[in-house]
Structure formats: structure tokens, C-alpha cells
């Protein structure tokens, strides 16, 4: 994150165009996630599941605008002289607050209106790009608590976890804070800040909210597999903005990140369905879609740090391992309903560690003249330094997020705001929490069993 000094900005229309498009692509991922999760869910609570994603867009956009960006990307408050800290100071470091209505950066009188190389990108664009990351990270968590969370509890949790976990962790990883700066963890597009983060929180909430009635014996089969595939397709498409957009500019690294995203995802799709086959089952579309998501997760932190063959291999490995990891929840006896832990947490870890093993100077970013702080991987002659940094970073993110989610979740549950009653679970959250149902199920004509009366006194 480069903040502008007093140089007149000349917008690079290519960089800026790419980052605008990337922002739109990352926004689309959250509706995509709503379909991925919604399709995996049973039909009687599909709208509740989708509402958790959609409401993240509504809520987190506003919070990010008014204080999230300021905390995550404001100037670091160091722990002491040499150690970077946990959170930004809510200003641009030139005495301009980012908070509240001051989020309106003065685009016509710098210093804080433009960023990037030669101040070629309006800071706004970077702010909105990062906004989309915060949105989807929160939305990802909802997969752990299918069919049993009160909507009000979800909203409160989302706001709280965003504030106490996402904002500081994003700062620590990308905003000049502890992990990225002092510890030297490398996370290009969010393997730890997004996926480990969300996965740990989802596991915590699955524990907090307990199991669905009947789990694990009963049938919780996906109600609409084409929706799962639609979600996977939109996620894949949007993820090019997520990963290659994270370079923020258009250069050789952008190209590498894009290629790696594609081949790792392809490899992971194959990896998942191969493991399905080996285990005696059949390759499935749910598997192919899940594998693709696992691959996207795993390549996220590493996409700019490895060569394409390494990315393809990472995908294959991550797809296969995540196919096995989704069984962990049965061992943990936690109803992480849609496998946020098995796919995002595990996949995120795999990707973060892969950097420590395979990161290569050939990618040109680690050791580029503008001063990479990172080291090559263990298998590429760089020793264990980077691997250890990766371990530390991922562990800190895991613990931080898990604890915040656990405490917040239990507090909300104790207040009676989070867990839906058993009848609501049985009859479906859509009717109970949202007063609607996803599909027409019984439609013998216009006039059956219903009378529409306008609200508002009509």
C-alpha cells in the first residue's frame, strides 16, 4: 500500500481501469458465494443462507467506508519503535483523518487522493477494492452456521467480528502491521487475512451454535447442485479480480497471478474429483465445484510468488487434501455445515505454507528492486526462514479470529440473540426469520389459500 506524497498525480488509465474492474469482480463474488452456499443448503433455509451473504454486502460496505478502511489502512500504530502494530491510526499519516465523512478524500488537492506508482490510481479505487475483500470475508463465515442462526444475531456478529477481527488482521497483514512487516509473512491476496480468518471464525461459530437437529445422522443434501456450480463459476470469474487485482497495477506480476489462479483452480478441481474416485466414489459436480473453490483459496496467498507449474501442483494437492479435510468436522464433532473450515481454513493454510516451501525468485516480486522483504521457499534454496514466518502468521490469524468469534458468538447466544428455536429449524428459517419461501411449492392457481393485502394501511 503506497500512500501519495506531494507529487501531482497523473492517473494511469490502464491501472485504474483494471482496479475498477477488479473491484466489480470481487463484489460479484459475494452473490456468487450466496449461490454456492445456497445451493448446498436445504431449500427451507436457502434464503436465510443467501441473506447472510447479501446482508454482508449491505452492512460491511457502510462500516468499511466510515471506519474500516481507516483502521486497516491508516498509518500503523507501532507497538514500539521497531515492531509494527495491530491497527492503523485512522489517518493517512499526513494529519488527515479517514474517519466518518472525512472518508471523502480530496481528489483535487492531494496529498491523500492518489496512490500507487507515481500516484497513478485514485485512493478511492483502492479503498473500494479493499471494501469488497472485507465483505466477502464476513460472508464466508456464514457457511458454518446453516439453518440455525437468528438473523439479528448474524448482523450483530458480522459487525463485531468485522471490527475486532477483520480490520486489525487486514492491517497486520497488508496495512503495515505486525504480520506483513515485522514477522514477514507473505500473503498476496488473502490466504490468511481472508480464508484462514473466515474459516477459524466459522468453526468457532459452529461450536457456539451447536449442531442442527439430526446432525450428523440425518440427510442434509444440497437442494440445488446447479446453483452450487453457478456459485463456483461466479467465484472463479470474480477471483481473477481478487488475486490478479491484488497487484493493483497492471504489470508482469499481474499476469503471473492471473495464470496461477487459473491453473491452480483447474488442478484443484482435478485433485478433488480424483480423490473422490480413489476413495471408491464417483467424481461429482459438487466435488468439482468444491475443488475449484479449494484451489482458489489455496492459490490466493501464493499467486504472485510461484511459477505456474508450482501453482498447478499446489492446486492438485490442495484439492485432494481438502476433499479429505471436509471429514475433519465429524472428528471435531462440529457442525461446520458447509465446510468453511475444511475448505477455507485448510486451503488457506496449505497456500500459506506453500509459499514457505516453493516461493521462487523467478516470480520477480519477492526480490524485485523495490525491495522484497520475503525469502525463497525451503525447496527453492531459501531455507526455512519464510516457512517459519508463514507458520507464525497463519497461527496468529487462526487464533485471533477463533477467539474473537468464540467470545462474540457466546455473548450473543447468551443474550438469546443468536440461536434459532428448534421449531424454526424444523420448519425452516426462511419462514421464521424472513417470512418468505424460496420457491412456489403449491400453485394451483391465482386464488388459493392466500389473500394479498397491501401494507401501509391500504
Amino acid at each position: 500500500m503506497f500512500l501519495a506524497e506531494d507529487v501531482p498525480p497523473v492517473i494511469d488509465t490502464g491501472h485504474t481501469s483494471w482496479l475498477l474492474v477488479s473491484s466489480a469482480l470481487v463484489l460479484l463474488m459475494t452473490p456468487g458465494l450466496a449461490f454456492f452456499y445456497g445451493g448446498l443448503n436445504r431449500s427451507k433455509s436457502v434464503l436465510n443462507m443467501m441473506m447472510m451473504s447479501f446482508s454482508s454486502i449491505g452492512l460491511i460496505s457502510i462500516l468499511w467506508l466510515f471506519y474500516g478502511w481507516a483502521g486497516a489502512f491508516g498509518k500503523d500504530i507501532p507497538l514500539n519503535g521497531s515492531t509494527a502494530g495491530f491497527i492503523g491510526n485512522f489517518t493517512d499519516g499526513h494529519g488527515h483523518s479517514y474517519l466518518g465523512t472525512n472518508t471523502y478524500f480530496d481528489l483535487f488537492g492531494y496529498p491523500n487522493g492518489f496512490a500507487g506508482p507515481n500516484h497513478s490510481i485514485p485512493t478511492y479505487v483502492i479503498m473500494v477494492f479493499q471494501m469488497m475483500f472485507a465483505i466477502i470475508t464476513v460472508a464466508l463465515i456464514s457457511g458454518g452456521i446453516a439453518d440455525r442462526a437468528k438473523f439479528i444475531g448474524w448482523l450483530l456478529f458480522a459487525a463485531g467480528w468485522f471490527t475486532l477481527a477483520y480490520v486489525p488482521i487486514a492491517h497486520m497483514v497488508w496495512g503495515g502491521g505486525l504480520l506483513g512487516t515485522t514477522i514477514g509473512e507473505a500473503d498476496f491476496a488473502g490466504g490468511s487475512a481472508v480464508h484462514i480468518n473466515a474459516g477459524a471464525a466459522a468453526l468457532a461459530l459452529a461450536i457456539v451454535l451447536g449442531r442442527r437437529v439430526g446432525w450428523p445422522r440425518a440427510a442434509f443434501k444440497p437442494h440445488n447442485v446447479p446453483f452450487v456450480a453457478l456459485g463456483a463459476g461466479l467465484l472463479w470469474f470474480g477471483w481473477f479480480g481478487f488475486n490478479a487485482g491484488s497487484e493493483q497495477t497492471v504489470d508482469a506480476t499481474t499476469a503471473v497471478a492471473f495464470v496461477n489462479t487459473q491453473v491452480a483452480t483447474a488442478g484443484a478441481m482435478l485433485g478433488w474429483i480424483i480423490v473422490e474416485w480413489i476413495k471408491g466414489g464417483k467424481p461429482s459436480l459438487v466435488g468439482a465445484s468444491s475443488g475449484a473453490v479449494a484451489g482458489l483459496v489455496a492459490i490466493t496467498p501464493a499467486c504472485a510468488f510461484v511459477e505456474p507449474w508450482s501453482a498447478a501442483l499446489l492446486g492438485l494437492v490442495a484439492g485432494g487434501l481438502c476433499c479429505l479435510a471436509v471429514a475433519l468436522k465429524y472428528l471435531l464433532r462440529a457442525d461446520d455445515s458447509l465446510d468453511v473450515f475444511g475448505v477455507h481454513f485448510v486451503g488457506g493454510w496449505i497456500g500459506c505454507l506453500w509459499i514457505g516451501l516453493f516461493a521462487s525468485a523467478k516470480s520477480g516480486w519477492l526480490f524485485a528492486p523495490d525491495g522484497g522483504v520475503f525469502h525463497e521457499g525451503l525447496f527453492r534454496g531459501g531455507g526455512a526462514t519464510q516457512l517459519i514466518a508463514q507458520l507464525e502468521g497463519a497461527a496468529i490469524v487462526s487464533a485471533w479470529s477463533f477467539v474473537v468469534a468464540l467470545v462474540l458468538g457466546y455473548a450473543l447466544r447468551l443474550l438469546g440473540l443468536f440461536k434459532a428455536k428448534e421449531t424454526a429449524q424444523l420448519e425452516g428459517l426462511d419462514a421464521h426469520e424472513h417470512q418468505e419461501s424460496a420457491y412456489e411449492t403449491f400453485t394451483p392457481g391465482e386464488s388459493v389459500g392466500a389473500g394479498a393485502h397491501a401494507a401501509a394501511g391500504v
Binding site: P216, K279, S284, G287, C323
Partner: protein, 112 residues
């Protein structure tokens, strides 16, 4: 007046319809049901979780007929829907007190 009810395999519906048609029975009411019985279901697997599908799709046919035709109709339905494999289904006969055709109010055989 009798009601012949058949629960059969979906693919056999067309054959039954033809067989009934050939006998001059040209009305029936059909619905999609799930059958549970000797026939084993299949297994589905989603992310490693196995689901046994025990209820299998079947078609239920209800045909109102003249009681004189019962044997003929049952025979026709049975032979048209038989594939010889487990799960072919059941046919049963119920006595009906009265039938009315809604459109005309005709009753009994005239209602068919």
C-alpha cells in the same frame, strides 16, 4: 364402480396408458409418489457424506372403471407395467360408492 390403483415404475406409464387406451379406458389420474419396498435404492455422496436414497420415484395411477371390467383392466395394467425386475409395484382395487362427472353432474358409468 371400481377404482384400480397402480403404483408402477415411471418408465412404464406410457405402456400402461397405451394398454388402457386400447381397451377403451381413456381417462386416468396420475401422480408422482415415492415407493419404499424390497427394491434397493442407490447411494449419493456429497463431500464425503453418504446418503442412501430409500424412497424411489414411482408413478401412481388411479382409474375409475366399470366393475365388470375389473379383471380385464387389472390384467392389462399388470402386464403393461411388468418388467420382471424388483420394484415393479402393486395394483389394487377398491370399491367405489359413487362417481360424478363435475362438468355435467352425470353419475355412475355415465360419469366415466
Amino acid at each position: 364402480m371400481k377404482l384400480v390403483t397402480a403404483v408402477i415404475k415411471p418408465h412404464q406409464l406410457d405402456a400402461v396408458k397405451e394398454a388402457l387406451h386400447a381397451m377403451g379406458v381413456s381417462g386416468m389420474t396420475v401422480s408422482e409418489v415415492q415407493g419404499y419396498g424390497r427394491q434397493k435404492g442407490h447411494t449419493e455422496v456429497y463431500r464425503g457424506a453418504e446418503y442412501t436414497v430409500e424412497f424411489l420415484p414411482k408413478i401412481r395411477i388411479d382409474v375409475l372403471i366399470d366393475e365388470l371390467d375389473v379383471d380385464k383392466v387389472v390384467e392389462a395394467v399388470v402386464s403393461a407395467s411388468c418388467t420382471g425386475k424388483i420394484g415393479d409395484g402393486k395394483v389394487w382395487v377398491t370399491s367405489i360408492d359413487e362417481v360424478v362427472r363435475v362438468r355435467t353432474g352425470e353419475r355412475g358409468l355415465d360419469a366415466l
